[in-house]
Amino acid sequence: MSDMETGDWRVGVDIGGTFTDVVLWREGSENLVQVKLLTTPDDPSRAVLDGVGEALAEAGIGAAQLTSVVHGTTLVANALIERKGVATALITTQGFRDVLEIGREWRYDLFNLDIEMPTPLVPRRLCLEIDERLDATGAVDTPLDLEQLPGIIAALGAADVKSVAVCLLHAYLNPAHEQAVGSAIAQAMPGLAVSLSSAVSAEMGEYERTSTTVANAYVHPIFRDYVERLAGALQELGYSRELLLVLSDGRGIAADVAVKYPIRLVQSGPAAGAEAARLFGELARQRDILCFDMGGTTAKACLIHDGEPERTVNFEVARETRFAEGSGLPLLIPAIDMIEIGAGGGSIARVDQRGLLQVGPDSAGADPGPACYGRGNEFPTVTDCDLLLGYLDADSFLGGKMKLDRAAAEKAIQTHLADHLGISATEAAWGVHETVTANMAQAATIHAIERGLDATRFAMLPIGGAGPVHACSMARKMGIARLVCPAGAGVASAIGMLAAAKSFEIGRAAPAELSSLDFAKAADLLREMAEEASALVSSAGAEEAEVTRRFSVMMRYVGQGYEIEVPVSLEMIERQDREALSAGFSECYSNRYGRSEDMPAELLSWRLAVTGQRSTLGDTLGQRSVAGVAAPVSKTTRPVWFDAGFVETPVYKRADFGTGSRITGPAIIEENESTLVLPAGFQLSVDAALNLILETTS
């Protein structure tokens, strides 16, 4: 690349558990500068600066030429998982101090007599009550007793609290009492971080809203300090323009807004990965994508339906038991809907009491990692099995940077599995590979059913180090006939950050039955929301003219347990068009469930997504076609196990392929960060965006 190029330079930075990825891109260019380096857990901003510096040097530009830095981080999630937040207090309505510990009174594991319920982030002695009460219409039942505040403030001071959450009953309808408490505390204790539930998450449901507000408060000061440090460090590099942060729903927002709502960043990195999957899917002209991300410690699935990632407002973090829904802290925040479908390449395999193979949920993680890493784990993992089966190569793992110990893998499988089952080590390894793939296929299929979607109609997009190893087998088990393997999947989250639009979503609970909905009041609420959201997004640098607003309302039939999102327009609400709203709901409902009912409907909450201009990254990447050889020739072969035996299989480098190249399985295609296993029965072609397109032939 020539030095000192001008134009809009943007950089995306993703801090993951193991690696920090940096991607640098000049608007309009089809080239991306990619840098991957180890995360620096003691001070994550160090790896960021090193990576950005390296990328800038490679592009031959200075930091001053950057126009935006987009960033995602696991800091918030880690602080919650490791319980490393600050001393936090909760102020709640008289009579409700135990809302966090009582929770939903429900056991997440029916058969385990020793289950641990999540420990609240605020100890009971710091859950303080104040006399006040709103009723279910938001009207004041008991006025706020301001005279109790000095006592509460003294208690906060005595306990050396650093952050406080205020969550009062029905405050999602009327924030006045929370605001009065908040400003009194801010006045008396200027250094204290204050989170109000009406601002953090104006949703109905006191346990979940309190949990969300408390989690926000718990990480608030840490996150604020981190962003300040990062901005300062970037400034030292010579960069002083906007710093955008990626939220859990894949939207980007200015750092000064993000620091108020750090809980919105709990799934920051993975959400950007889903944005990347959306972008890659767009490039391959696939609007329905199942993104399958399998790394060393986790395997995740996310559905992109009709070009948009599936979203949720019910999130859960820091689970006591892996995969056990309900064992963590609930968060009511807009998030891309992803589920963990497995424990990744580090999942440990064993023989259970019934003499059958089980894989996971326990994992050897990244450290000590699989037996073949030679770091002291003696138990066989999925990665060990993949190595024995020839899917992975001991010498070319991570581009040859890390040599794997095949003998250690074989010994682990022989001792712990094959000897117990009376079969060969390779057969046992094949069993583990098939079992873990079947588990993931089932979990992903059920996830789709839960969303009212049919997974067989989706194309699979595998990312992560181990995703492409298991993808074809998993697709076949799910009845999926088409896969898309994008270029640059190894730094997908960082690419997704560049693709993310500046955007923010807010929600306001306002339960009402459709038949008695007060439209004038609803229109007022929507206008108020529009004002609030516009202010947040324009501060993120989006020009007012580019901003689009999308209103929607969560609705269901009265008495149902799940609600669905129904798009609405402000104009429709202003003209009080009950019939249009009803018809819109029926249509959305029957799209999802295949029928609609003749029953009364109700509204739960209004939502608004305000979005600035979309990134043009997709337009340019779509044209980076590199003409390829029609039938590339492999330079090497190796024995690879398929179904019932080893087959001498050609091994390709991804770089061997260009647009128009075409081969059929069996084959192995290696990249630096991952290996694609292409079994017989699949054909591979390369499209104009350099995606590998895999299709079943039988």
Partner: protein, 545 residues
Amino acid sequence: MSKTELNAVRLGLIWRRLDGIVDQVAETFLRAAFSVVVRDNYDMAFSVFDSQGRQLTQSKRSIPSFMGTLPRTLDAVLEKFPVSQLNPGDVIISNNAWIGTGHLNDISMVHPIFRGDELVAFAASTAHTVDIGGAPSPSAKDCFEEGLCIPICKIVVAGQDNPVVLDFLTENLRQPAETLGDIRAQFAAYRDCNVKLMSLMDEEGLDDLIPVADEIIARSEQSMRAAITALPDGRYSDGFDIDGVDVPLRVECTVTIDGDQLSVDFAGTSPQVPWPINSVLNYTQAYARYAVKCLVDPDAPNNAGSLAPVHITAPEGSLFNATPPAPVWGRHLSGHYVPAAILGAMAPIMRDHIVAESGSPLWNVYFAGRHDDDRGNFVKMFFMNGGHGARSHGDGPGCLSFPSNVSNQPIEAFEHQVPMLVREKAFIPDSGGAGKYRGGNAQRLVFEARGDNPITMTIRHERIHYPPRGLLGGLPGRAGVDMVNGEIIEAKSRSVLESGDQVVFETPGGGGLFAPSERDDDLIKQDIESGLTTAAAAREFYEYE
């Protein structure tokens, strides 16, 4: 290995797929279900059986009440309709409490699955329906008051709806659209199950499921027998009194471990009563199996093999094996004591893996009345849990459902549906029984009636006279209390509330485990700091100053 050889790897994959099929099919049904308890609390079960009627698997998302009930339902169905009378596309229905799950609100159905002309499997399901007609009340004297009993009959005959059965249902239910909607959703799930099972058999080259079923059942049975063998042989007994309706009732339980067999017998338990709190044997067995699985082999699969080594009996005509026409609607008011009896009996040999008694049977309250605005009438059921019993390795969690698993409802949502304000929902200090590990705290709920129209309140609460017991030296939890305007009311009663009336419910606290003298001082200190234990109680029970 050859494709057709049934080694451990291949068996494991097929088994996993069978499990996956019922889970997928159950999820398809859940998404379309109307009944709120079905969707929110998984008050349903889906199972697959082989052609001999042996249960192979049951959906994971389910509740204890349905453990092993569908095999009995299928047996009864086959008694009436032998295989020779079953055709592709048939669906057989019944909600008979004695062959089903113990009350009429659970409708069970069975669908034979054919491969060509050959019967290869059965799909079966049970799901709760809110209304089943009739007039269920806390004073029902027999099962006929409790709603419509659907005899074993074909609701679908060779793919065609049976109009007679559908008409009977439509005429006898208050909300036929919802109930029939749930029933039809299960038909769709059966079709789905059919297709998925056929592709499994095609892809695995299986002509019938028997060889796979033999292996699944043998391995499950072996594993359960091995787990039982590891327990010391002997007879272990427990007995205690429970509140009952008009007079206290007795529960007696003997667990016998003999080599690789475990049997539970309830001889000595009170006779059935003319109140709707009786448990049919099927319901008793479900909760007994649940307790045994938790204690002996929590990972045991839910199939005929795992169930085989465990025998559960109760004298005919007793509270735990009631005979028709006993009223059974509130069967949980006796049945939820079944795990307590088994845990109590086995505690001496399970010191490392036991739970003291919890604040159950589950508490609920019905509020019925009329909104002041144009929303019309309302009937609202509200659940509240007591403290969980102390466990072998730690305190019992406060307010956690056991042995059932029913969540609470957000107060903010409740107040939108019912013209009441909840003034308090908080732990009651000192309500968990003392012990090395203390029981979980109970909760106090204060409801205030607000509307202009009166509200009728119906409650049926237990553990007022006999609080949850501690085990192995632990002390009992606090008994429950029900009050209106400061006056104690009957725990099984109906009251009318006027605007301004205040109702207080104090659920029972969990029992403690092991002697209080063994409790760690740090834990006592923490409890005093948090306020879950008062200094006075610490002094009284732990001699802590």
